[in-house]
């Protein structure tokens, strides 16, 4: 309180500035500031950082400078102001503008889901010195009612086919294990991530056995604790499984299982907030950018774009605020395709880099929760059948949850999040009942649907800057494994932003240009 009072008191011409700035576009601060800004932006990615002492509370509108000459004359006035602002004082700000985002932020992160918050966390954690960059997270829905993070089933596994995915997941599991060291906030209780170290059990038919074997080899090389099991061993270990049609199974002994995504989200939010990241409840509706023309080495003419302003529309209001920024991070999950389009990605003749869209779209996925009194017990891992149907235990009361990804032709309309119960009857239940005969009698208790941030190109993440919209960075497209990779992806993006290249895990294969070049990073284990 004292601190705020002081800021207010010392802000010269404070009231005037507030009135001037609070609605709409042009502001004093911006005019003063932007001269140096627009002209001088030539530096490589790592050098946009501005230095500032650490101060999360400043919102740009309340800061003033100490007057140069007329200070003594102002002192009594300032004192009065301080007095009136101190508790019990009569000062009322004419308008409350605290809900508006700041007018300037070094980095604007679009989307406050687990990926966006993780990027914010790592940016703040890796910045040097502390408080060097200002980070703003724009999230349009604080209830996260449609965000994939809150609607996921929280699984984490290393049983992928692409080494990068395995590494990301291994990093993340280490993060989750030490979550109370990474996300510790003084005076706040420790987080309980509710990790179930129960492992994933992937089943393969004869056709898939060879692929599974080679995948497990890669996984072991990367350090995952995965073992192969024959149908015989499978029967011994999990007598409730019908091994008909199963040729091989791979089972994660460690680091795999499921956890509470909501806890991770809240933990990140709490930590990031304490580190001085700003949040804004609003929707990104527009980018203001400039373009310039260059030639590539092969002589092609390309248009480079740079985003200067992000327009944030305030929730349930017509009001919007332009936020001047140096960098935009597209972490809008299932909606990141739209955000990319807003920035002009994919607007160009087809077949060129300019005309290459971000191939990330919403795909609706159902999750059903059922009760089965005779169902498998406490040892139940996260089982993924060769048919693609999966289930896991939920709590102790013989409840299970599971689902299945539809085929390309059966993709439901992603317009809303309504659940199709016939899908369970037709597509999920039959394979599961065949695999686990106990599931022949069960009762569906509830169900929900969520959106995969589905990469139609190769079902893998898109990480790093766009080659043409030079200051838009992607962290999206994880197609159903984004939650478990979020801690690592956040770090990768932060490294890219701060150092200009990846350091911990090399995610160069996940660069946007693969869509143009047609180089798929195909992940076989998509659930």
């Amino acid at each position: 309180m004292l601190r705020r009072a002081l800021q207010l008191g010392l802000g010269r011409g404070l009231l005037g500035r507030r009135l001037g700035t609070h609605r709409g576009g042009s502001t004093l601060g911006k005019v003063e500031g932007s001269g140096g800004y627009r002209g001088s932006w030539v530096a490589p990615v790592s050098s946009y950082v501005t230095f500032r002492t650490r101060d999360p509370a400043h919102d740009g509108k309340t800061v003033g400078r100490l007057g140069e000459g007329d200070q003594n004359g102002k002192m009594s006035e300032i004192k009065k102001k301080i007095q009136s602002v101190l508790p019990g004082g009569a000062w009322n700000p004419p308008y409350d503008t605290s809900y508006l985002p700041p007018e300037h932020s070094d980095v604007v992160i679009v989307g406050g889901g687990v990926i966006g918050l993780s990027v914010a966390y790592w940016l703040k954690r890796l910045e040097k010195p502390r408080g060097a960059i200002r980070v703003l997270v724009v999230e349009r829905d604080h209830t996260y009612s449609q965000a994939s993070t809150a609607l996921s089933v929280g699984g984490i596994r290393q049983q992928f086919s692409v080494p990068e995915n395995i590494q990301l997941s291994l990093f993340s599991v280490e993060f989750l294990r030490n979550i109370n060291e990474y996300l510790a906030v003084v005076d706040d209780p420790p987080l309980d991530i509710q990790f179930n170290p129960s492992g994933y059990l992937l089943l393969a038919s004869e056709k898939g056995a060879a692929v599974m074997e080679s995948n497990v080899k890669v996984q072991r090389q990367e350090g995952a604790k995965v073992c192969l099991m024959s149908p015989e061993q499978l029967r011994n270990k999990f007598p409730w499984i019908n091994t008909e049609g199963v040729a091989l199974a791979s089972y994660g002994m460690e680091y795999e299982g499921w956890f509470d995504p909501w806890c991770l989200l809240q933990g990140l939010r709490r930590k990031v907030q304490s580190m001085g990241v700003l949040f804004c409840h609003g929707e990104v509706t527009r980018f203001v950018s400039s373009s310039s023309h260059t030639e590539t080495t092969s002589g092609e003419e390309v248009t480079l774009k740079r985003i200067h302003e992000v327009h944030v529309k305030i929730d349930r209001s017509l009001e919007y605020q332009p936020v001047e920024c140096a960098l935009v991070i597209n972490a809008a999950g299932a909606w990141s395709g739209q955000i990319a389009e807003l920035a002009g990605v994919g607007k160009g003749p087809p077949g060129t880099l300019q005309g290459t869209k971000l191939p990330v779209e919403r795909r609706k996925r159902y999750v059903y929760l059922w009760h089965c009194p005779q169902g498998p017990g406490l040892e139940t891992p996260f089982v993924v059948d060769a048919s693609g149907a999966y289930f896991r235990r939920e709590g102790l009361g013989n409840n299970y949850l599971g689902g299945c990804s539809p085929t390309e032709e059966e993709e439901p309309d992603p317009g809303n999040l309504e659940v199709d119960h016939d899908f369970f009857q037709d597509k999920v239940w039959p394979p599961l009942a065949q695999r686990v005969p106990a599931f022949e009698t069960l009762k569906v208790r509830s169900a929900w649907a969520g959106y995969y941030d589905y990469n139609t190109f190769d079902q893998n993440g898109v990480v790093g800057p766009h080659p043409l919209v030079v200051n838009m960075y992607f962290a999206t497209g994880f197609s159903g494994h984004g939650l478990q990779q979020a801690p690592a992806v956040g770090r990768a993006v932060a490294e890219m932003v701060l150092d200009g290249h990846f350091q911990t895990i090399n995610l160069n294969p996940f660069h946007f240009s693969r869509f143009y070049l047609g180089e798929k990073v195909q992940e076989h284990n998509i659930i």
Partner: protein, 345 residues
């Protein structure tokens, strides 16, 4: 990054920069001006120090964590020189626990933490029992234990840093481990216990006084179902030897006293072990952990006013349905909790 000097790099709002720096810089300016604004410089002082105090506390928090890590670092030299068994024993003794080599007496450190290094000569003799009760052993420290391939009994009672993640990695001991006591570990929940199904040779399992387990009666039944040849104990852990009594080898545990079979007694807590009162580990209080954030007043006006936390979106989540209470009771009646009172050898 050292870019402070390069002017053009002040890309975003140089004015703003000066302004903020001013908050700290001001105190200097004021001091130069003289004493007339003493009150203000005091405020300034406090405001300045606020971050320092905060930084200091963050530092102390880190120190605490670091201390546990320090205690759990592996003794690679001993391992290379004297083999994994000696290294494991050394690690446990250093931590204040006790170890028993096959066919030898229990070894433990004295009140000052000293112990004789005679066991380094045992070399080929494997460790068969470890009592690490009350030790600061954590996930990392388990490395030393997992190398003990012939470990038959393991006591990890009241270990503050043993959690579900640790249980998830006990599977390398599956071939040898027969007895495991986890009584009173404040961070172990039913989620970790589920991963004990790897330990197929387990005969006895003490899972009493686990405050993070939400449903002890049902959990015990489910654990017994999962490990059919094992007896899981829920009763008070008084009867199992603590580190002090361990020096009586060979003596079987006195059977747990059979008390009234109702739930109240089975979950009654030994006050001496009740770690949940020590509010350092409020893990049982899941609610608190779930919605801990953001009472804005707690941190003064310096926090950005992020709107109050939304509850978990209702319809789809939580899918967690509480364990069916009637099923629990029925099952409890069926088994009769008295059954677990004596361990068959």
């Amino acid at each position: 990054m050292g870019l402070g000097k390069t002017k053009p790099l002040h890309l975003v709002m140089p004015v703003w920069n000066r302004g903020t720096r001013g908050i700290r810089g001001l105190s200097r300016a004021v001091a130069l001006e003289g004493s007339q604004k003493k009150g203000r410089s005091l405020l300034q002082f406090l405001a300045d120090r606020f971050y320092d105090v905060q930084a200091l506390r963050e530092y102390l928090l880190q120190k605490q964590v670091l201390k546990v890590h320090q205690k759990n670092r592996p003794f690679t030299y001993i391992k290379e020189r004297f083999g994994p068994h000696a290294a494991g024993a050394y690690f446990i003794l250093k931590q204040g626990g006790a170890v028993k080599f096959q066919g030898k007496e229990w070894i433990r450190s004295d009140a000052h933490g000293h112990f004789s290094l005679d066991f380094l000569k045992f070399q080929a003799v494997p460790v068969e029992a470890v009592n690490a009760s009350g030790c600061a052993i954590n996930y990392q420290g388990l490395d030393s234990l997992l190398a003990l391939k012939e470990l038959r009994s393991l006591w990890l009672q009241r270990c503050p840093h043993v959690d579900d993640w640790c249980l998830g990695r006990l599977h390398p001991l599956a071939n040898s481990l027969q007895e495991l006591s986890l009584a009173g570990c404040p961070r172990i929940s039913e989620r970790g216990l589920a991963s004990l199904h790897h330990l197929q040779n387990l005969r006895r399992l003490d899972i009493s006084d686990l405050h993070a387990v939400s449903n002890p009666g049902l959990t015990r039944i489910l654990v017994e179902e999962m490990l059919p040849s094992c007896q899981a104990s829920l009763l008070g852990s008084n009867s199992l030897p603590g580190p002090g009594e361990v020096s009586r080898p060979g003596e079987p545990h006195s059977p747990n006293p059979v008390t009234s079979p109702d739930m109240a007694t089975t979950t009654s807590r030994n006050p001496a072990l009740d770690l949940s009162r020590d509010s350092k580990y409020p893990y049982s209080n899941v609610l608190l952990a779930r919605f801990p954030v953001g009472h804005p007043s707690a941190h003064g006006p310096l926090r950005h006013p992020w709107p109050p936390l939304a509850k978990r979106p209702e319809p789809p989540w939580p899918p967690r349905v509480p364990a069916n209470p009637s099923a629990t009771n029925a099952a409890l009646v069926k088994t009769g909790l008295g059954l677990c009172s004596s361990f068959p050898r």
